[in-house]
Symmetry: C2
Subunit: 323 residues, 2 copies
């Protein structure tokens, strides 16, 4: 199956890295909005200008779109779905219905197959929530994120005057997680669920007090959380915070009858968020390719994909080895 | 959707209990191989003789088969699949391919839809293994069971002369689980993965030493494990060991590139194995009903079911609430 990557940032590189572990998938090209001659692919695969993508229609089985959810994907996915089968990792939860509809129309009209919101949340965590709710209707869901780097929160800190660099870790509150795992179904405020740890490099003459206060009081991002701010040097940032780990946990506890308690728990601990997400997108691309071959067009999410379609193994082997 | 239960033991009662939490499903009857007048359903639903089941063809959307895997289901599922859409929890892993083929033929020839091996293992744990393998091809899987009651092992002890009652708990070895969760990918022997705890009630004049030795040396069941045997009274058995808790954990650790390590973990802690399993079978029955309505006949497993089909919610609502 011929795969191409559209957008060559952290996620695009993660997809590229994952290809090596999927012998049934072949990476045939990378499309970038930067000047292609300025971009060197890790794997030596050809790099093309994004605006030339359409010329490759018919030569690529699935295009994996690695743009951002804020401004790239809302345009990119419907546009590309007119020419290719596509996969994206659109993660602006509130705008998923609208994004779905636009991609569905574009893909359906042109006989293409699309999957949006692949990755781990949305993605694997969504699947955990759906399965858990379906098999135990009476209960309560919790999702914890971290410990991991939030790019959005790191960026928000970087926009403060005097800040040179920043890394924000989202950290689940251990006591809250323990209570939930014990099946206690606590009522938890935003503050009781996650902490925010900020590591910040500032300019020499910057007012650290003021910057720390600005971070802690930033609405939406930090004001509702217990937030720690630690000032570090550029060298410390590079040495201790250049990886992009992440993870989290979906827990549902509930009952099937008076007095019974059941707890289901799905967790991820990831050394590299973009590499893992890229690896999930490759499995989604495989499913999209299979569905397209069966004439299943339009937009889908992981909820619509039979799990077997994500795997390279034939159904008989899956039943024998993994059932 | 009209549901019926075929076989009214622990699992059948578990399915019956679960119906209350699934307002879109209606339990219309229970079929038993015992004299139906001797059986009183918990919910007051009508109880019929198993041999009359065929008379109800056309009046039941999905029949949930709650027989045992050793001797009941290999006959029962293909036979019932000629007259009904069916769901079973067949769990003899080695015989799944053969069972699948027989059920597939029966269901396909008569235009019915079947799902075999529903439940949590096989079932939810199989799904965890499949998703984890698909999204991270490079890695290693581990499955731990327990702490929970193994009916098969309890029965094996009960067959020893002098034993009046027995309950066997399968217990994962904590150090092994910790190593696996830390992503260490240890090589683990059978003994290093699980312990077996046995609680045994014996006749007054029984030779306890001899019984304990017989248990510990029993091939397949106990010889390969560290096994503890505790003799208790009938009262203690009733007071402390009448529930049927179970659970377990599927863990896959692996990497996407040199030096990265990712750990995925799905765990269940269940107060009542038969009630939870019954609840899973109800979600499977819903999916079977939907697939049948779409003209998808023959035999399937959870691997072939789009997750959305397990849920009573429409796709738009799933995308909005759970994605």
């Amino acid at each position: 199956m011929k795969i191409a990557i559209y957008g060559y940032g952290n996620l695009g590189r993660g997809v590229e890295t994952g290809i090596a572990h999927n012998p049934d998938l072949e990476l045939v090209g990378i499309f970038t909005r930067r000047p292609p001659e300025s971009v060197k692919a890790q794997t030596g695969v050809p790099v093309y200008a994004a605006e030339r993508a359409e010329d490759f229609a018919g030569q690529i089985d699935v295009m994996i779109l690695c743009g951002g959810s804020a401004t790239d994907l809302p345009e990119m996915t419907p546009e590309m779905a007119r020419h290719f089968n596509v996969v994206d990792s659109f993660d602006t939860h509130a705008r998923i219905p609208e994004h779905f509809d636009r991609v569905d129309r574009a893909a359906f009209q042109t006989g293409h197959t699309a999957l949006i919101s692949g990755g781990w949340d949305p993605g694997l965590f969504s699947l955990a929530r759906l399965y858990m709710n379906a098999v135990m209707p009476e209960g309560r869901d919790y999702t914890f994120w971290g410990r991991g780097v939030s790019q959005g929160h790191s960026d928000a800190i970087r926009r403060i005057p005097g800040v040179l660099d920043a890394r924000q870790y989202t950290v689940p509150v251990a006591e809250a997680v323990e209570q939930v795992k014990a099946g206690k179904q606590p009522e938890l405020s935003t503050r009781q669920k996650h902490l925010r740890e900020c590591y910040v490099v500032v300019a020499e003459n910057a007012d650290r007090e003021e910057i720390a206060r600005t971070i802690r009081e930033m609405p939406n991002y930090f004001a509702d959380y217990d937030t720690t701010v630690t000032f570090i040097t550029e060298e410390e940032m590079k040495r201790d915070h250049s990886a992009l780990p992440h993870g989290g946990e979906v827990i549902r506890s509930g009952s099937t009858s008076e007095g019974t308690r059941h707890v289901m728990d799905f967790s991820l601990k990831l050394d590299s968020n973009p590499e893992f997400t890229g690896s999930v997108l490759l499995a989604c691309a495989r499913a999209v390719g299979k569905m397209h071959a069966r004439g299943i067009f339009g937009c889908h999410t992981v909820f619509d994909v039979a799990p077997a379609d994500l795997s390279p193994l034939p159904p008989e082997e899956l039943r024998k080895k993994l059932l």
